[in-house]
Symmetry: C2
Subunit: 344 residues, 2 copies
Amino acid sequence: MEKKERLTIKQIARLANVSDSTVSRVLNNQPDVNENTRQRIQEIVKRVGYRPDAIARSLVTGQSKTLAFVTEDIRNPFFAEVARGLEDAAAEYGYQIIYCSTDSNVDKEKMYIDMLLAYRVAGIVFTSFSGNQAIINEIIKCNIPYVFVNRYYNEIPGDCVLIDNYRGGYLATQHLIKLGHKRIVHLGGGSVSFTRLERKRGYEQALKDAGIKYNEKLVKTIKGTLKYNTGYEITKEILKEEKFTAIFALNDLIALGAWAACLEEGKKIPEDIAIVGFDNIDFTAFPTVALTTINQPRYEMGRKCMEILKERIEGSSTDNAEKFKKIIFTPELVIRKSCGFYRK
Amino acid sequence: MEKKERLTIKQIARLANVSDSTVSRVLNNQPDVNENTRQRIQEIVKRVGYRPDAIARSLVTGQSKTLAFVTEDIRNPFFAEVARGLEDAAAEYGYQIIYCSTDSNVDKEKMYIDMLLAYRVAGIVFTSFSGNQAIINEIIKCNIPYVFVNRYYNEIPGDCVLIDNYRGGYLATQHLIKLGHKRIVHLGGGSVSFTRLERKRGYEQALKDAGIKYNEKLVKTIKGTLKYNTGYEITKEILKEEKFTAIFALNDLIALGAWAACLEEGKKIPEDIAIVGFDNIDFTAFPTVALTTINQPRYEMGRKCMEILKERIEGSSTDNAEKFKKIIFTPELVIRKSCGFYRK
DNA sequence: CTGTTAGCGCCTTCAT
DNA sequence: ATGAAGGCGCTAACAG
């Protein structure tokens, strides 16, 4: 049985009758190499199928071409779409992505971050984050750039890529109000997430502008993961507690869960209850669903993260670490059938 | 401005008044270390927050704790669910996952594999693969274990995790036949994928067993990505060409696209056309969709991949590389509303 | 333009 | 039970 040892730079050097530094130079496209030598080496590299060891390279350069994507759950189509944008841009620049699904569990988050730091990832994208300062401090200590997507924290520094969530919440609620709704449930809010607060603020302001009194009982804070079942269950609850004719949910998955709960209780959508979601995940466009929602340019947001990280990683090292970026995209109301027409 | 150098094993050694080898030993839980020394070192490690450099470790051990998940598109919920299963199991064993979305494009696939090999990943999961032998040869040459999920190749060796796709295709078609359908379109087939061939074979056999003649014109091979739009477009075509009362699509996304196309052409589902999908992605259960489909235990399949890889990576090195595993799960028919009831 | 030297941070014999 | 030395594969000064 033959031993298949991995080729090293030294063997290439020997084959080409040069030193390994010379090979290293052509491998890294450095100048000051004789054109003949360069070609000869490149040819050999190609012929024998030599592939530089990225691990060894990382060790000496102190840098890796690996990024991390920290998310609540990659099964949520919103995150998957952001991830794809990031991944595509990353691939163009020669970076690869490690995915970490935390289920919004601080311990899992810690575990993952620890692993990522051990592997000296070049940058981290947070699409979900516990808000735990200690974790961010660790990352900062390791001098690793990071960016929040669709997340923002007043107390925690960092680049971020967002949409105007306030405006999104406003548009969603305003749409329902225009259709004649007065008792509008909001599935969202809570205190941990700036994104949620902003959406809720938009909801409140739209009510106010329309002269509708804010009613605390119509606001249900989501606890736990932002998934379908969560929306389903919370809606089951509020259907027993309150009367209302419309729902604005903080994301599409929750909205869909709410929809299912309404149907199960004999409510018709949109005749009895109108629903607006948030994110505009692909499925909301399906004809028998047709959920009205707020669009976020998810793919583009993912790409933008890569741009930001790339600049931080490779950019001029003038310490501009203090000037954090805040990229804000514009939300758009996507009107579909789940709200029906003007009533009463 | 303070320089924040990363702590190294040597500094820990100095703090503990021992040599770095001793520190290394306790870090790796090796025996033959004085219990006092061990505790002292562990305490220091904890106190100063030292984190071993995984890159350096990988370089010397020649192994990494990084796996790769190669898929067509992570936005496809089927893949996302498999990925989550893999990721969860991986996290339990201290592995992390790099995701690679290839869009079933050989060049992208090559590019990614190249990157993965350069980084010496410990193992690869293919959820989508071009069938390119050369690529597999490279991987084998690097001695990296890999497993195919939901894919199987006669000519290409490797472990695989599958369902009985033939049976899945049979169940789907049989269901339609039982409901009285005779002209059943199949969106699938083609020659590249064993999985597709098997599903189609099930389709054919079910027809045969029911005494229905196989009609080539009712079979449309999917080209391109297995996504919603692809299903939509191909269905638009066949609606113009043929008469039929039912569709069996090779996956749910295609089925959903077909559904949308039918609606657009004024067909009602299930009254005019019955539809069966494949995979049982979460969204098919939504009440206003309720797509009849074939369930695959996606999450479990992902977990299984981890088990297989772990054994190959860490297992006893007795060369059992020839005995490839073939794990087969059982598909289940999930009856929902998209097929309606018995007709005529 | 090219070779030599010296590590990157860690693990692993081999002595002691 | 511990330390010293050497090396994983590569890059980066520094000479020449």
